[in-house]
């Protein structure tokens, strides 16, 4: 069934490129972000429009491979490829780029990317230690703030940051409400629709407009959930997807799981539950941003205990029947961590576990289908 509000969101989304260019022509600055560790609150506080530039499509990868090694993660190649081919309107309109040293591949790619646009790369610590890593990270955020002020010709006040935190908290709260709808048994929304909504929301130049339409979608879905509407057949196994980021274009795993009869009810990945925390609105805003963003449980952290705790919570809350761990080829941190995640899922929760290692292309779709169907057959 089609959701009226989702159709409305799609129609509005088609205008986003136009709207952002209009705003840019009228003098608004646009700041591109590459990773969940980089707080978009600072760009918002500077009066700029934040946009996500993390590459999720396969198209620009061949062009990226003229510069980058082939055996690099597709997310990094795609992100770079969009710049190299000048095929992403959001990249084109960006005045300034913010990245962070998430992993080896990204930080070296950013060195090359900075030839295309002015850029700031945050030095991300490799653990979340409150004594050493956190003060360092807070200082990194101050350096970003200074750089944004200089590059965008803006002054960022404490009040600006507080307002931006409140706005982003509302967005995160709304995304949580949206994703929590899939806790219903049956879930009123498919994983593919969830993914689409989460992904599209990031590109609204007018945040309030994006939030308003997603709020409509959530209300429509809440109504459907009350009426017992099911997005999947009643016996569809409830799957939690963890691992690397997924977006439109890199949604192969979600699509194959749902085409094979599974229901993706929970995304633990960084476009999903990893990002729906609330930043503290009371204390020092820079400290609050530093603490919350650093706590993101990505596999680049060592140790990364937060991911195991989050998984345990989500497996229970979403009545999950199987866990699929998605790894992009050459993403070493997620690939290595998969072994421990499998142990955790099987031993602690007694649930079936499947790791999928793939890229953005469809070349292995048939082989993946065999694995995914067999995995769903295992759940029964």
């Amino acid at each position: 069934m089609t959701l009226a509000a989702l159709e409305k969101m799609k129609a509005l989304s088609e205008r986003n490129v136009l709207e952002i260019n209009k705003a840019h022509d009228a003098g608004r600055k646009v700041v591109g972000h590459y990773c969940l560790y980089s707080p978009s609150e600072l760009a918002l506080a500077a009066g700029a429009i934040p946009v996500p530039l993390c590459g999720t499509r396969n198209d620009p990868i061949p062009a990226a491979e003229e510069v980058l090694p082939r055996n690099l993660c597709p997310l990094i190649k795609s992100s770079f490829g969009f710049a190299a081919t000048d095929t992403c309107p959001y990249f084109a309109v960006s005045d300034f780029l913010v990245g962070d040293t998430t992993c080896d591949g990204k930080k070296k790619m950013f060195e090359l990317l900075s030839a295309y646009k002015p850029m700031h790369v945050l030095q991300l610590p490799q653990n979340q230690d409150p004594e050493t890593a956190l003060p360092f990270w807070e200082n990194e955020l101050y350096r970003l703030k200074d750089r944004l002020e200089a590059e965008l010709g803006a002054v960022i006040t404490e009040a600006d940051i507080r307002r931006a935190i409140k706005l982003m908290n509302r967005e995160r709260m709304l995304l949580k409400r949206l994703m929590d709808l899939a806790k219903n048994q049956p879930s009123p929304i498919s994983g593919m629709d969830l993914l689409q909504i989460k992904f599209k929301l990031g590109f609204f130049p007018d945040k309030e407009q994006g939030l308003a339409v997603v709020e409509e979608i959530v209300e429509e879905l809440e109504e459907l959930a009350r009426a017992g509407h099911a997005a999947h057949p009643a016996d569809a196994p409830r799957i939690l997807l963890t691992g690397v980021p997924v977006g439109l274009g890199s949604d192969k795993a979600v699509r194959l799981i749902e085409d094979s009869g599974g229901a993706v009810v929970c995304f633990e990945s960084c476009g999903g539950y990893k990002k729906i925390y609330q930043v503290d609105e009371e204390g020092d805003p820079m400290k609050a941003l530093a603490a919350q963003y650093l706590s993101t449980p990505c596999s680049v952290m060592s140790p990364n205990t937060g991911r195991f705790e989050l998984l345990t919570r989500l497996i229970d809350e979403f009545s999950v029947q199987g866990v699929v761990d998605l790894t992009w080829q050459a993403c070493h941190t997620y690939n290595v961590e998969s072994y421990s995640i499998k142990k955790h899922v099987k031993e602690r929760h007694g649930l079936p576990f499947l790791q999928i290692e793939t890229d953005y292309s469809d070349s292995d779709a048939e082989q993946l289908k065999v694995r995914i169907e067999a995995f769903l057959e295992m759940i029964g």
Binding site: E366, E377, M378
Partner: protein, 261 residues
């Protein structure tokens, strides 16, 4: 009540007719038309079993060609089917190693033949029948000849897992005048290493059944078994295991349908 399983793989199409016992089976090359191969092998198996098509209550299709079979009642993956087939043949088996034309899989099974965990090779041909086929081509030998020669050779180290690079490596070894038997032994050893690295993810719980086309070669079975340090259970017709599992699952479907009626 009679049921059938049809397994259309990348190299061979297989079918088994089953009514609690195996009534008949057939194997033919898949060729370029998986749909036709599936129909043909089903017909041959029926003829071998002396069973009329109308007498078959349910058919399960498996293998990569399963999506193209118009006459089946249900599709089930070859992972579940191999597990079921192996558990029927060897009730004490807890691990199934299946090496077919383009897949290598290690499957953990329960006593009732249901899958508890599995791992498959990634999209490349390392450690599969295709790998062996390409190497046999370079050496101008059949798969059986390659296996026999390997038994007599002291294995050389073949480092490349990639089929294309391994081929280059073997051409290099031949150019250096390396003993052919040693190369054969090295090739099969490299498949065994690939199995071992996969089975790190799905532990090899005894007892261990070996299925699929590669298990047709006693020499290949012996070398891989020795390399892994576990004895293998191998049936007379290891290629038919997936089709047998499909037929058993079809038999179960037919049974439950009858109960409902």
């Amino acid at each position: 009540m009679i049921a059938a399983g049809v397994d259309v793989g990348s190299v061979a199409a297989k079918a088994v007719i089953f009514d609690g016992e195996i009534l008949g089976g057939a194997v033919i090359p898949t060729g370029w038309d998986p749909k036709r191969a599936g129909e043909e092998v089903f017909r041959l198996a029926l003829a071998e079993a002396g069973v009329d098509r109308q007498a078959v209550a349910r058919v399960v299709g498996t293998g990569y060609g399963r999506i193209r079979l118009p006459f089946i009642d249900k599709r089930i993956t070859e992972i579940s089917c191999h597990a079921k087939g192996a558990a029927h043949l060897f009730p004490s088996c807890r691990t199934v190693i299946d090496i077919g034309g383009q897949d290598l899989k290690v499957v953990s099974v329960d006593a009732d033949g249901s899958v508890t965990d599995f791992v498959m090779n990634d999209k490349c041909a390392a450690g599969t029948g295709r790998f062996l086929q390409v190497m046999a081509g370079v050496l101008d030998m059949s798969l059986l000849e390659l296996g026999e020669a390997a038994l007599a050779g002291e294995p050389v180290q073949i480092n490349s897992m990639c089929t294309v690079f391994a081929e280059t490596e073997i051409i290099g070894l031949l150019a250096q005048g390396t003993d052919k038997a040693a190369i054969c032994a090295g090739i099969i050893r490299s498949i065994a290493r690939r199995v071992r690295s996969l089975s790190g993810r799905v532990p090899l719980r005894p007892e261990c059944a070996f299925t699929g086309g590669l298990a047709l070669s006693p020499a290949v079975c012996a070398i891989i078994s020795q390399e892994l340090g576990v004895p293998f259970q191998v049936s007379d017709a290891p290629q038919l295991t997936g089709a047998l599992g499909a037929a058993i699952l079809a038999h179960g479907l037919a049974g439950s349908a009858k109960e409902r009626a």
